[in-house]
Amino acid sequence: MKNSPVVLNVMTGELDVDRQEGWPSDVGLTGTIGLLIIKSSELVPEAEWRGYDLGSYLPLLAIRSFAASCNIVATYPAPPGLGGSAREAGRRKLIAVAEVMAFTRHRDSDVWIMPLDALDLSAKMELRAEELDL
């Protein structure tokens, strides 16, 4: 695992206030930042709910619930419990799902973010629901 600096420990909420690096200017944030980190998202394995791209829609419902108090949503698309080529294939698939939801890659990192300030989430969801014929 990389030993990169940690400013926010999401497990404890601890902040390293000595760091002066800012959020990237491309997300355009000022003032208090509300950060929502998607830790996991899954559908049940039963076939009834598979195959309709709900995996790219249901998280938006949750994100919308937090949208009033969050500026950025961040996640790391990766399949749990896989290794090697299967893991990479799963990762590519999840990245595609994240991009459908309007996540974009944060610089060259493995983190994908969705700046809510610049996104009309309701319009995005309406469009996505229409695309999915929901």
Partner: protein, 98 residues
Amino acid sequence: MTELARKQPLPDESRDRLTSVEFRYMCRLSRYEIQEDEPLQRWSVTYWGIDELTGAATQIGSLECWRAEINRPDLCVALDAASGDLEEFTGSAQRHDG
């Protein structure tokens, strides 16, 4: 409350259990629940579907997320996810179970 009516036919292996017409509109996502687990601002979201034939609610999906509020706009949130495990999302920070 969010209602998400299913308008598409279901996969063959599922449709075989019921007639296609009944099954086509059988399920809808009727609600989702958010539960807060303080003090880490960890949230668990559960999506439920309703079987319109039986009225039974079944869990169809879930989401876990963390929310943090940062009052220093000059701070950088380092999101280290080299391992691909979000439990290691915090880079060199100590891992915690759960």
